[in-house]
């Protein structure tokens, strides 16, 4: 039981990271009908930037500044590389985002350097022990920060004029334009939000370990998360992220008992297995709209 609870606690922490990444994917998808494959790069860039900032200005300000800076980078990338392509086939834009991903990742990766870098988080691998269950501080922090961000996002989409305009534009772009909504502004804000969220996710993914080039692999698991939650559902992204995070950690933890013959831990492919099973039952994801287009 303690093993299970420990795995769940770790899964919630991991799932929070997935949720942040998946939210970025969903926000961009809703506004442009494109899956942006540049999210992993923004995540890595965010973590690298914070690792440079935190020794001088402290961890928390570094995360805030880092997230805003990466949001700015995403804004520029959208304006320069994506906006001229608006109106082209969705497929073309998706391919361009892959190119952006590679460029940003290589540039950010060049700053990692040879010495071990850390994001400078205050908790490291510390953990509380509650009745035999170890709960890492970083997982709690990830969960709390994600909760706050999710609440802030929902408030943003519900009450602010631009948030409301983004929802309207996701439902019917032409009708939103007729109301005076600038579609360019909607695209820009969605990319900035996605970039900022990815940067925060990167910080939590990198905390408790040293930075390496392969950090972005974590962002790939956000793809099954958004497919599972439904491409166009923010709530689905959050719940899907937590669900897949927990499933992955539980499988990883019980790997030895369940699959004694396998040497490689099956935990890392769990997100995809869960996605396959869910898609068999609900092809449009758990919370997605039924007629979501194919991409």
């Amino acid at each position: 039981m303690t093993q299970f609870l420990g795995a769940v606690a770790g899964g919630v922490g991991l799932g929070s990271i997935y949720a942040l990444l998946a939210l970025g994917f969903v926000i961009i998808y809703k506004s442009m009908r494109v899956i942006s494959f540049a999210q992993p790069a923004f995540m890595l860039a965010g973590a690298v930037l914070v690792s440079y900032l935190s020794p001088s200005i402290g961890f928390v300000p570094a995360v805030v500044v880092g997230a805003i800076a990466i949001a700015g980078v995403a804004l520029v990338v959208e304006r320069v590389a994506i906006r001229p392509m608006v109106g082209k086939a969705v497929f073309v834009i998706a391919i361009i985002t892959i190119g952006i991903d590679i460029i940003v990742r290589v540039v950010a990766g060049a700053f990692i350097g040879r010495d071990p870098r850390q994001v400078g988080d205050p908790w490291g691998i510390d953990a509380w022990e509650v009745g035999g269950v170890y709960i890492a501080h970083r997982h709690i922090a990830a969960f709390l920060v994600t909760s706050v961000l999710v609440i802030a996002l929902f408030a943003f989409f519900r009450w602010t004029p631009i948030g409301l305009a983004m929802r309207a534009s996701a439902l019917d772009q032409e009708a939103a334009m007729a109301q005076g909504v600038s579609v360019g502004a909607v695209f820009a804000v969605s990319w900035a939000l996605a970039g900022g969220l990815a940067a925060v996710a990167g910080v939590f993914a990198a905390s408790g370990r040293t930075m390496d080039q392969n950090l972005w692999h974590i962002a790939l698991a956000a793809l099954p998360v958004i497919i599972l939650g439904g491409l166009d559902s923010l709530g689905g992204a959050v719940l899907g992220g937590l669900l897949i995070g927990v499933a992955q950690q539980v499988v990883a933890s019980y790997h030895r008992e369940w699959f004694p013959g396998l040497d490689t831990n099956i935990g890392s492919i769990t997100p995809y297995l869960v996605m396959l099973v869910v898609l068999l039952v609900r092809p449009y994801g758990l919370f997605g709209t039924k007629e979501v287009e194919r991409v």
């Binding site: 939103a176 334009m177 109301q179």
Partner: protein
């Protein structure tokens, strides 16, 4: 005054939808735009509201002017801020948002008097106040049309471009919409009304245009159009004697002539 001069619009670089149209919408008047399907009525509205881009349309010749200044190349949001609001054909409400959220999006172009405008719209359409927290997609067709018009009114526009507001509505609801259009006009908004329901449109309009194959073929005060024999026969469904055609036997038969010219 909102006007177009010698406007030519091309879709996808090949389809010529408007061939030199000139039209004027004076402040505070109702102008009706009649014509068969494919005549270019919606295209004309799109060139006034900047929404041609969405449909790969492009102004090739001619100008769109607002008070004499050319506005043909402005974005839809810039035109909305200048007070030109387009109510799209087929209502196009944001179905998953609530009624009030729809209206708040409508105020996007000018949020200064949101409260007053909201009260004004609820005054014009009391049924929307009753359903303010319900999903817009669950409103009836007539209520959705009211919401679409109310949404456009939320930024207090100078000109309202209405694309077939009576589409698919019961006669009684059409009357309701008609009265509301008159009331909105009475409050000082200029209206360009595109309609298949020519009877309704000519009843309330001050001036009328008939558009066929991308050309203006008639441009007269509405009262004259109501009396014009051709308009009566083709658009008002009245026989040559002024009676509603009671049997298809009495409807004149025309042989279609195919011509490559014109």
């Amino acid at each position: 005054m909102l006007a177009v001069q010698n406007l030519e619009v091309v879709y996808d670089d090949v389809v010529l939808a408007l061939r030199g149209v000139s039209l004027e919408v004076p402040d505070g008047r109702i102008v009706a735009l009649l014509g068969a399907n494919g005549g270019g009525k919606s295209t004309l509205l799109r060139s006034l509201s900047g929404l041609l881009d969405v449909h790969d349309g492009e102004i090739r010749k001619g100008t769109v002017t607002l008070d004499g200044a050319s506005v043909g190349q402005l974005s839809p949001s810039a035109l909305a801020r200048r007070g030109i609001k387009h109510v799209l054909e087929g209502r196009r409400v944001f179905k998953e948002l609530t009624t009030e959220e729809n209206l708040r999006v409508g105020a996007h172009a000018d949020r200064r008097n949101l409260k007053t405008n909201l009260e004004r719209v609820y005054g014009l359409f009391p049924v929307l106040r009753e359903r303010r927290d319900g999903q817009a997609g669950l409103l009836s067709g007539g209520e959705q049309q009211m919401l679409a018009i109310g949404r456009a009114l939320m930024s207090d526009p100078r000109y309202l471009l209405l694309d077939e507001p009576s589409l698919g509505l019961a006669p009684r609801v059409v009357e309701q919409i008609r009265d509301i259009v008159v009331e909105i006009n009475g409050q000082g908004t200029g209206i360009l009304l595109v309609e298949q329901n020519a009877t309704m449109a000519l009843e309330i309009a001050h001036h009328g245009y008939v558009l066929e194959n991308g050309r203006v073929v008639m441009d007269r005060p509405a009262a004259e159009l109501r009396e014009d024999a051709d308009v009566r026969e083709f658009y008002l469904g009245l026989g040559a004697e002024g009676e509603v055609a009671s049997s298809f036997r009495n409807v004149k038969h025309y042989r279609r002539r195919k011509r490559w010219a014109s």
